[in-house]
Symmetry: C2
Subunit: 418 residues, 2 copies
């Protein structure tokens, strides 16, 4: 075992030990840690900004774009926002100890399924330093120890934040190894962590597709994956046209670089000639480039012709593919074929159409008369989220506190034998 | 792509198509299929026994032991038991469509989390032919298509059972490809199936450790794993001695070759000199070999000395390791270190001891004053099970219908924008 592997093994073991102590930590203690973290964030503002400045100074070395440097930057306002986010997690109900369901068996055994922490989370992420505190807060509140592996671009910022998180842990009597930051940017370290299936219970990569693919391929433990969002808005013959226009404009334009933004507009053939010209204008006023099928292009002046590939593309930009479909069933078939099972919306006041859409579209979130942008932990009522799962296994859609937990069966008897 | 890979791809695609149709199949239709399956099992008894005889005749070729041949054999009684098991699944509530939870958001969005099928299950198992029907019944009742890969020893039996299952599917108007049996015993086929992560949603291996390890290593989709059961009974100073004796004898001896049987007895030092001599006699009368720690050996005449390795061994035999521990906390630490997080039992009438045990033992099932043997889908009220998960992710402990499902967020609005 080389030095790096020995280090990884020790970090993983320390995390496991901390997780055993966290299992029985009270909600009050975990909340005290979140409040103390928020206090320290505010008190250490200038030190945090100094550390962040070291990262900003080196940003050119890593070839960061202006947008990436902006995301990396810590300001007094952003530090306040991080502190406020930690305080919001205080307000969320503690998921641990919940009796999920229970029954008394005919032989008198009392069976309860009780929510427990997952154990140890390995969280791999890229540049934004606020994610360091958000992820630690969600993991510890749900009773888990976390091993944080941040991006090399944010190395100094993350170290300053991590020092503060562990100081707060010590202050409230929780093990400081409940939150560990990997102290090397060596890429091989990730591989060694992904081999620790006996000590790490779940790996959560948050970043680009290549990161997620690497983690999925190498991990020996379960992975919460977050792949593409190829999201659709389907405007049905039963739609209110004004609502349809507002929803597609919002779903496409409110924020283009995120997974729950719409990439494709489907329109019922029965209304295409009336609906498409008006929405074409509204979208082009927002600067959206339209890539249309054969039937929609003549109805959308200024659009260009889409290729087959367009309908399977996550643009993350002001580009929208458009297709005319024969009816709601054709829309559903298109979505299940070309979509990424993330978020799809129908605009219609026709009950059979919306019911068919909800039943048959195989996506993490199905929206009726609402923007695709609402697929988000806060918007759906889960509170803060550590990611959005595109898997069907364990967690689907936004992952909040509950999705970081497991359960155990607790069975009370009075001497029953099988 | 070679012929085998083309075949695997086609089977996986057909399963995906069938799963889309199953998503909206009614509970009545799925139950009609189960009832028709039971009818056909009874009607085709002699053909099934003929097919099974072909496997029995070849059993020597595969080097099967007498016990393995017995497990492979179909008799009129066993066929009736398989039919009755299918009828029992009719009685279980349909999990699909359940509203798991719901909320109305401040902006009026109505958010529901609705239980949906997982999609396509790849189930890999070994010899017993009844598993073919059990697994198909659980998968289809929970709205999933299933690809069955049985053992080569049961090839003819499985083909006869599969023909009957698909006939019943056609009879009730469900797609026959909802249940497919892999028509080759080529081991490479398993590898190709494990690469179909876009078409198969979960792989479930049921068999020996090497099978589960192979599937875990190769699968590109999530796997429900079922590893060792190193289960403990801890007899505390607060125990009723009679109950303690009955529970350890039942946990060890009721059936030795299964995962929820006890492999280790821990006894509180405060009662060791009174409890161990009597239980030593009771266990040795059942033919149990006792492997003891330094402190317990003098109290158990006829026992031998345990090695460190004994405490980490799943014997699956009439052998029990025995250790004296200082108190309930030492018992918990021992279990979390040497156990396999499967099933552990405390015998005690002392509330703080049982509460500490339930809170801190990190196992799928924790029993108080009951045999470890109760960790079983039927006993815990889940109904039939497709396996017992030793993971914490998605499903922990017995996996019944509910554990074969996922969920989606279904969101209704009236034009909300973000």
């Amino acid at each position: 075992m080389n030095d790096l592997e020995t280090y990884v093994r020790q970090v993983s073991r320390d995390a496991r030990t901390a997780s055993q102590l966290l299992t029985t930590a009270s909600g009050a203690t975990k909340n005290a840690w979140l409040k103390r973290t928020a206090e320290l964030l505010r008190a250490r503002q200038s030190q945090l900004i100094d550390a962040n400045q070291q990262d900003i100074t080196r940003a050119d070395e890593f070839g960061l774009s202006a947008a990436m440097i902006d995301r990396l930057r810590l300001t007094p306002e952003r530090i306040e926002a991080i502190a406020a986010a930690a305080e919001e997690i205080v307000m969320l109900a503690d998921p641990i100890g919940e009796v999920i369901d229970s029954s008394v068996r005919p032989n008198g055994l009392n069976v309860r399924r009780i929510r427990v922490p997952m154990g140890v989370v390995f969280f791999i992420y890229e540049s934004r330093p606020n994610v360091t505190v958000d992820a630690a807060a969600l993991c510890v509140k749900s009773g888990n120890a976390v091993i944080l592996r941040g991006g090399k671009e944010a190395f100094h910022s993350n170290h300053a934040l991590h020092a503060l998180l562990t100081e707060a842990l010590t202050d409230v009597g929780l093990p400081p190894t409940a939150v560990q930051l990997v102290n090397t940017t060596d890429r091989d370290a990730v591989g060694y962590f992904l081999a620790q299936s006996g000590l790490i219970d779940v790996a959560i990569p948050r970043g680009g597709k290549s990161l997620i693919e690497r983690v999925s391929a190498e991990a020996t433990m379960p992975v919460i994956k977050h792949f593409d969002g190829i999201c659709h808005v389907y405007v049905d013959r039963g739609a209110d046209f004004d609502m349809g226009e507002r929803i597609i404009v919002n779903s496409k334009c409110q924020r283009t670089g995120v997974c729950n933004t719409a990439e494709s507009l489907l329109v019922d053939a029965a209304i295409a000639d009336r609906f498409l010209p008006r929405v074409s204008k509204a979208l082009q006023e927002q600067g959206v480039e339209l890539r249309c099928c054969e039937r929609s292009q003549p109805l959308m002046p200024g659009s260009i012709r889409a290729t087959e590939q367009d309908f399977a593309t996550e643009y993350l930009d002001l580009i929208l593919s458009v297709k005319v479909v024969d009816d709601v069933h054709a829309a559903i078939d298109h979505i299940n074929k070309y979509g990424s099972h993330h978020t799809d919306s129908i605009v219609s006041n026709d009950l059979p159409a919306t019911e068919a859409f909800c039943a048959r579209v195989d996506s993490a979130a199905v929206m009726v008369n609402a923007s695709t942008r609402f697929n988000d932990g806060n918007e759906l009522g889960l509170g803060a989220e550590i990611g959005i799962s595109t898997d069907k296994f364990h967690a689907r859609g936004p992952c909040g506190l509950r999705e970081l937990t497991s359960y155990k069966f607790v069975v009370h008897g009075n001497g029953q034998l099988k």
